[in-house]
Symmetry: C2
Subunit: 354 residues, 2 copies
């Protein structure tokens, strides 16, 4: 049995994914947005947030009635540069796309736009929304509440969210700067991957219920540590960033934060978001800004390097390289993922198959 | 010889500090702002950014002609929700205070306001500007370029800035949420303190030129590690946050970033900043928001605790306790600091002495 990845081009993968959502009752325009964002994550190399999760996450949640396929997404509060949206339990892709567009339209008018979203669901890879701003020469910001996964400093067991910070900044000839990070030492996907491949994890990623570092994923009875790891090495910074994201996404949108959730208020995949856009042209001529971004990138590349290091990578550079390669050669998917997608296509009788 | 701290009340300390700045040619209103911010840092317990640095940092730089005591601080670009200011080498306190006020006035009108500042100097503790927003029920953001201190992943020796992220969020009965962090594993002040007290530092804070962790501060020939420490534990996140702060403060204001600096473009204490304000009332009624912040804080306090832990502290809670204590009992200063301030008072012939 081979585990060689199967390469599928972005176009057909997007078309197939959209067809799956349509078959589940998602309107065509929304299905196209959801497919775009899932495949965009795969193109960037964020495999943990791409089509591999289509069947187990999104399809399952639509079938469970957790996700509303025909939501009434409304703007419930608004100012010149801000808004609050209620997603009505929409697919996070659809709510996120609409909210990011609103933030950008406000930035177009006023220089800055910020939109919080309550009552939403998992929106995939945060960077996919931040990079939308690049098309209009804006800086894009995308934050989201993540599932409960992280141990607060002083806490016992996971109590706070694996919340995410994504920021995209346009450049000229260089790749755009795209930061896309969870506020834990590692994203939950890294542990899933280690479990799948039966590999140990480095001591310092996660702990048991007594806060002892463990290397066997099965023994992670506590949770993942916040970025920084332990208090002496900055855990309060990772913890602070995680809580900040929850405040901006949840409190500021009128929703609940991760430590407030229980069985009655939560369900797998619930989420809140916060989007922002800053229009570069409000600060300086766009061409000048992009030239300066290129110079900034090159100055980092030109820093003295450690022995054996050929290149210093800035946030988003590896993803840009991956995207170039995958656009040309297709997205490499695990054969099990391809099999599950083909099964889904048969079952739903999608017009196109993979 | 005693090293017992000497307690001095905030009022007289502020008055003395303002008098020092005035004697050096700073206009009275600006001197009062600078003194306010320095003493506010001491009140919060950020001793590394308070009056202890008055003589060696600020007074010295004014005397060296690095800081312009009568600057022409100008807004060089502006939109409804954004602005760029040129600080004309002002004291960072004065430029920062003016820029944060501008961001708040834009947020008052439009819900959000963001102001970048170029050509400025060291502005002390970042939190002092973020908390200004609390007075008007806004969320405050304050970012600043720091001095070159951090080793980029893959780099050899310090190459990027000890850049700072500060965010303040108003609460009701609970202490406001105030995150105030450098994007390194530790702030440079922690190394200064260890050197001063001849104490070792934990392996993992800083490295030598060959990227080996060192515990003797004198052997830190490389620099401090980015938050996360090593790539396996999230160093690219700390690095990414540091670069992001430099982009928003420096590229977006039309100034240069840390890795672009050399002897011809830099001087000790140069800095750039980025300020933001989000008006809570644009998102929801202020009272409702504050109540929800209190509930969010209490939900974190109520999380299961590790053995022996009495309380989980959120960002800003310890500082709020420290401030209550120091307002009542005075700010504890090292006797050497008090001696240096008294000497400064004699030398400048300030009207009040400490």
């Amino acid at each position: 049995m081979t585990t060689e990845p199967v390469r599928i081009l972005a176009g057909p993968l997007r078309q197939f994914t959209a067809a799956v959502f349509e078959k589940l009752g998602v309107p065509a325009a929304d299905a196209a947005i959801a497919a775009d964002i899932l495949v965009a994550a795969d193109l960037r190399g964020v495999d943990s947030h791409g089509v591999a999760h289509l069947a187990p996450f999104y399809v399952q949640r639509i079938r469970d009635g957790r996700v509303n396929v025909t939501p009434d997404i409304r703007t419930v509060a608004e100012d010149a540069a801000t808004a609050v949206m209620d997603a009505d339990r929409a697919l996070g892709f659809v709510a996120g796309h609409r909210a990011m567009r609103l933030a950008m339209s406000k930035a177009r008018e006023n220089g800055a736009g910020f939109v919080t979203v309550r009552n939403s669901t998992h929106y995939g890879a945060g960077a996919c929304y931040a990079v939308m701003a690049l098309e209009e020469d804006m800086i894009g910001i995308s934050l989201t509440q993540g599932g409960v996964a992280i141990v607060a400093p002083g806490g016992r067991g996971k109590g706070i969210g694996s919340n995410v910070i994504s920021v995209a900044v346009p450049a000229g000839e260089e790749a755009p700067f795209v930061l896309d990070m969870s506020t834990g030492v590692v994203a939950g996907g890294k542990l899933e991957l280690a479990a799948l491949n039966n590999r140990p994890i480095p001591a310092g990623w996660a702990v048991d219920l007594d806060n002892r570092p463990v290397t066997d994923v099965k023994k992670v009875t506590g949770g993942i540590l916040p970025l920084g790891g332990t208090p002496a090495f900055g855990a309060y910074k990772g913890f602070g960033l995680a809580v900040l994201v929850d405040i901006l996404s949840s409190v500021l949108s009128g929703d609940i934060t991760v430590p407030e959730m229980d069985e009655t208020t939560s369900f797998p995949g619930r989420a809140t978001h916060f989007f922002g856009a800053l229009k570069v042209a409000s600060f300086m001529p766009v061409e000048r800004f992009k030239q300066r971004m290129d110079e900034m990138v090159r100055a980092h590349h030109a820093l003295p390097k450690a022995e054996g290091v050929e290149r210093i990578y800035l946030a988003g550079e590896i993803e840009a390289e991956t995207e170039r390669d995958r656009r040309a050669r297709g997205i490499p998917l695990h054969p099990d993922v391809v099999a599950s997608l083909r099964e889904l296509g048969l079952e739903l009788n999608t017009p196109d198959r993979l």
